[in-house]
């Protein structure tokens, strides 16, 4: 078995692709900066999603071909486009959409997720870091469903799915589901439960890399 692949589980693109399958047609979606942004590329044919970017655009389209408009950007400050049917609005209206529960889904990255749904994704809490939170706390407090897309472990091999977050929280009990390289994991009243293992990944392998009790997939009855 010297041909064991060096990569086990899903790549970033595959994680984004897997998550994209679970977004219902017609959803209003806010995609965080980084891997979450990849999700838009993988939405299955025939589904129409409307993307919200908190800096004041509903109906965000992909990055423009050629030169962009420095006044048409997304929350990550990248040049984007507006689809037919888009609208621009000010920040208070934009966060009314978020805080008021009008957005169906937000996809975010994470530093840590606790088994009660607590999320830490804005600060490592180190004293020399410049604290910066942006709209993360508003998104997790207001959007109907919060999906996290993340590597299962840090680069140092530490679990990101934990009993209790050690980093400063973004929100309490807010995460609904995690799409990692190793598995799709739901946050349930009983804690983490695997919904689906990535191809070629064993439950035990994921359990060992999870910092809190992990329930196996529910068997069909």
């Amino acid at each position: 078995m010297s041909s064991t692949p060096t990569v086990i589980g899903r790549t970033r693109e595959e994680m984004a692709q897997r998550l994209a399958q679970d977004i219902p047609d017609g959803s209003y979606v806010n995609l965080g900066i980084g891997i979450p942004e990849l999700v838009a590329k993988f939405v299955p044919e025939g589904r129409e999603l409307v993307y919200h970017t908190e800096n004041g655009l509903l109906g965000m389209g992909p990055s423009p071909e050629g030169a962009g408009d420095p006044e048409l950007i997304n929350a990550g400050k990248r040049h984007v486009t507006a689809i037919p049917g888009a609208s621009f609005f000010h920040h208070a209206d934009s966060f009314s959409m978020i805080r008021g529960g009008h957005i169906d889904l937000c996809v975010l990255g994470a530093l840590q997720i606790a088994c009660n749904g607590d999320l830490a994704n804005w600060s490592t809490g180190t004293p020399d870091a410049i604290p910066a939170v942006g709209g993360a706390m508003d998104l997790v407090a207001g959007v109907k469903s919060i999906y996290v897309i993340t590597q299962h472990c840090t680069k140092d091999g530490e679990p990101k799915l934990v009993e209790s977050c050690t980093y400063p929280l973004t929100g309490c009990g807010v995460v609904n589901r995690i799409y990692s390289d190793l598995a799709v994991v739901d946050v349930t009243p009983d804690g983490f439960r695997v919904v689906e293992l990535s191809p070629g990944v064993e439950f035990e392998y994921v359990r060992e890399r999870t910092g809190a009790p992990l329930l196996p997939p529910e068997t069909d009855h």
């Binding site: 047609d25 017609g26 655009l57 509903l58 609208s87 621009f88 008021g100 529960g101 009008h102 957005i103």
Partner: protein, 236 residues
């Protein structure tokens, strides 16, 4: 694909249930969604809590909904109207409950619900009978009262132009409560004179972004309440 256009006013209000809270746009007749209200009368839901600035006039539109005893309670800033005996009659005989709210507080409570703000402080009504029983608190030496968000199950709204995404433009002072009632309602139903293709409305001028609107109905030539009242019409 997203297509919020509904074939008829009847279809658009089909699921309004007994006891629902229904916001109804309009300031006087401007912005009053007469056709949607008539469809709601036909539909038959009862025991409604209606949130609307006024209580209608004549015996059409909102006044007809009240006259037909579908409204258990109205939340309102100014239920007194020149051309209606409908509300006074039911009110005096105890068949309709009234929650009187200052107009700006009404607007802000509705906006708060849409914006995910459960409660806020305002100086409006401090020291008046409408502040009785409300919590009060001083900020920077001035007294304020605590007001709660006001949300609804449905909103009936009159716009001018819409598209399949639910983007809405309004006409002049008929805009009034429409945009905030759309925000505050689980099901915002908007009648417009014309449904246009997505992209026809300039994104810079959209008044109600589609995310706040669930259903759009085309009513090409909406009636004006004052014309119906002048003609002595009674609905149904």
């Amino acid at each position: 694909m997203i297509n919020k256009q509904i074939a008829s006013a009847a279809d658009a209000v089909a699921d309004v249930f007994d006891g629902a809270t229904v916001m109804i746009g309009g300031f006087g007749e401007a912005g009053s969604p007469v056709e949607l209200i008539h469809a709601l009368i036909d539909q038959g839901a009862r025991g409604l809590t209606v949130v609307s600035n006024n209580a209608g006039s004549g015996e059409v539109g909102l006044a007809a909904l009240i006259k037909n005893e579908r409204v258990a309670k109205i939340v309102c800033s100014y239920p007194r109207t020149a051309n209606s005996t409908v509300f006074p009659e039911l009110y005096h005989s105890g068949r309709i409950e009234l929650e009187l709210v200052p107009q700006g507080t009404l607007a802000e409570r509705i906006r708060a619900a849409g914006a995910g703000i459960p409660a806020f402080y305002t100086a409006s009504a401090v020291g008046t009978p409408l502040a009785e029983g409300k919590e009060s608190r001083t900020f920077d030496g001035r007294e304020y009262i605590l007001e709660r968000a006001l949300k609804a199950d449905f909103a009936l709204i009159k716009g001018k132009t819409g598209d399949r995404h639910g983007n809405i433009l309004y006409n002049k002072t008929a805009r009034n409560f429409g945009p905030i009632m759309a925000m505050a309602s689980a099901n915002a139903i908007v009648q417009v004179e014309q449904v246009v293709d997505a992209g026809t409305i300039d994104p810079e001028v959209v008044v109600s972004p589609g995310i706040f609107v669930q259903r759009v109905v085309e009513i090409a030539e909406p009636a004006h309440e004052s014309a119906l009242v002048a003609a002595g019409e009674v609905y149904p």
